[in-house]
Amino acid sequence: MAIELRDVSLRVGAETHIYETNISLEPGQFNILLGTTLSGKTSLMRLMAGLEKPTSGGLFVNGENVTDIAVQKRSVAMVYQAFINYPSFNVYDNIASPLKVAGLPRKEIDEKVRRFAELLKLTPMLERLPNELSGGQQQRTALARALVKGAELVLLDEPLANLDYKLREELRDELPKMFADTGATVVYATSEPLEALMLGGYTATLQEGRVVQFGKTSTIYRHPESLASAQVFSDPPVNIASIEKRGNTAFLSDSVSWNVPAKLAEMPDGAYKIGLRPHHLSPDGDGVEVGGEVQIAEISGSESIIRVIIEGNDWVSEAHGIHGYEFGQSASFFFDSSRCLYFDANEMLIETQV
């Protein structure tokens, strides 16, 4: 179903949890809410589910105002970070529970339960109780229960956060596929940028109760409208520095400068900010050369993550290959100036790519 939040805000006492938000989700779309803890992901989900009533604004489903309709009457399913299953029911009965409540004929229940158990690879453990399952299997059971209902809106609140790294990787791969066939609109909250990229679909970046930007995941990543959006969608953090623009040249310092794109060259001279993704800063190669003092280098097999102070800025380089450094070592780093994101005084992106 299509969901639209129109001027929705949520205040609790003097605190504002969600500032006025407008967002519209298309039917069957896979949507990601990306933000740190307390950025408002859960509040936004609860608003969408109808568990919270907005302080102002309204919620529209397929164009119809449903703000005052009770959550029980909406076609919503939710899965949480904690594995929530009925402890005394086996996997089969857990999955079947929403269908039994709906009063479906036994044969239809059986058919559906088996179909979704197969989809989530739970068929061999249908007879087991939740506490006899691994974390991944428990969460699959919870997911199956959410799916089997055939809810038109499925809300997933960091469902993989409590799982092992590798299991997470596998489920991330499977999740969008599972939902693709059901036609449900999915909203998935996460605090990990990489997870958002792996899941694809559409992403809303959230910061302190505000939706900073919403759009196709790869678009948000490549064209963050604001510095805040770039910061939310970057791990390790995006490298930020203030530059001075004079004519068609950007100065990071007196000795480090490069030519700016035409669009920026036309703008008034003065102070701007740049954002540079860590993997665009490299210890070798060519482009603009900057000198820095290495703080720490972490090596993860095929890659090195190097923290370095460049012109007083705390920067990170994520580079291919093995690069070892001593603490405090001076070293040169390089970046391709066309990779820079430029932001104006209001920290809004200056679209420089054609």
């Binding site: 803890t37 990229l197 792996m198 694809g200 720490i296 972490e298 090596i299 097999g301």
Partner: protein, 358 residues
């Protein structure tokens, strides 16, 4: 500080009556060098926490012995081993201030107050806790509390090793990164042996000099992050380390070189003989590339992960994942892939085939 040695250590938890014991930890002999940064990496239930508890003395192994600098400590209690441990969920003494929390282990050991204060101040400085010393510990955020847990280990001068049991579980991703760097920095400054248990390969590889990969109660490979990445000894290591994990494909051997679905490949590590049994090749997605010739494939999926693209291709019944640069074009017509011979490994019954020629 000391060198910690495991001699034929095995452990089984007491089995239900009438059943044979199941070893949560299979036989392990392993040396932890003084001042090293180690990671124990493996999925849940692989025995890594059991191993950690054996080092700290919270658990006595059913068999084998543990030596600290050659001294047998197998039956010694935790307190006598001078071990510090940081747990998954931060442990702080709620009623005390940050200062008292840090001073607690020193006071328990009867250190004079003046000396303790000096030591606490010094460690608080390293952990960036100086300005919060006189706050109640209960009021700190998760990462602050976890720093306190760590600090209580660091203040003790006689500590032999600091053990970490998935210490970043409850930390927000953007703070994880900072705390991880802090740990690494502290290790470089203080040089105490650190052993870090995790299921997260990124944490393990970035933290440790030596990574111990565990699987089903046993150690499958010990090595530097680079070794684990470049030449996984077991298909599990290949799968578990790296994201996405290594491609493992069935093969046959012909004159020591692998044949994958009728394509003769070349490996930098050929087998000395044509073995029988389960034979597979392992190649990381990083080392699969498109080429003008090679194995013809069908492209199934392209995922844009920002820094790079993950392309899933199919040859006959086998799926192969490959990593392609962010700007690299993906051929649309009759794509073909190539494997980098230097990074193509042969596995026999899941273990890498050793070679004399390499």
């Amino acid at each position: 500080m000391s060198r910690i040695e495991f001699k034929d250590v095995r452990h089984a938890y007491p089995p239900p009556a009438g059943q044979a014991p199941v070893y949560a930890l299979k036989e392990i002999s392993q040396v932890w060098e003084d001042g090293g940064a180690y990671a124990l990496l493996g999925p849940s239930g692989c025995g890594k926490t059991t191993l950690l508890n054996i080092i700290s003395g919270l658990l006595t192994p059913s068999e084998g012995s543990i030596l600290f600098d050659g001294r047998d400590v197998t039956r010694q209690p935790t307190a006598a081993r001078h071990i510090a441990q940081v747990f998954q969920f931060p442990v702080v003494y709620d009623t005390m201030t940050v200062f008292d929390n840090l001073a607690f282990p020193l006071r328990n050991r009867g250190m004079p107050e003046a000396r303790a204060t000096e030591r606490v101040t010094e460690i608080a400085e390293m952990l960036d806790l100086s300005d919060r010393l006189h706050q109640r510990a209960a009021g700190l955020t998760a990462d602050g509390k976890q720093k306190i847990s760590l600090g209580r280990g660091l203040v003790r001068e006689e500590v032999n090793a600091i053990l970490f049991d998935e210490p970043l579980t409850v930390i927000d991703p953007h703070l994880k990164w900072q705390l991880r760097s802090k740990l690494k920095e502290l290790h470089q400054q203080i040089g105490v042996t650190m052993i870090y248990v995790t299921h997260d390969q990124v944490e393990a590889l970035t933290f440790a000099d030596q990574v111990v990969v565990m699987y089903d109660g046993g150690v499958v490979q010990v090595g530097t992050p680079v070794e684990l990445f470049n030449r996984p000894k077991h298909t599990f290591v290949g799968y578990f380390i790296g994201s996405p994990g290594m491609n493992v494909l069935p093969c046959k051997l012909e004159n020591g070189q692998p044949v994958f679905a009728n394509n003769l490949l070349s490996s930098g590590y050929p087998a000395d003989a044509d073995l029988s049994g389960k034979l597979e090749i392992g190649i990381r997605p990083e080392f699969v590339g498109f080429g003008d010739d090679g194995i013809p494939v069908e492209i199934q999926k392209v995922e844009d992960l920002g820094r790079y693209q993950v392309v899933t291709v199919k040859h006959e019944a086998e799926q192969i994942k490959m990593l392609v640069g962010e700007d690299e074009a993906i051929p649309s017509e009759s794509p073909m892939i190539q494997f980098d011979p230097e990074n193509l490994h042969i596995y026999h019954d899941d273990w890498v085939v050793e070679t004399r020629n390499a």
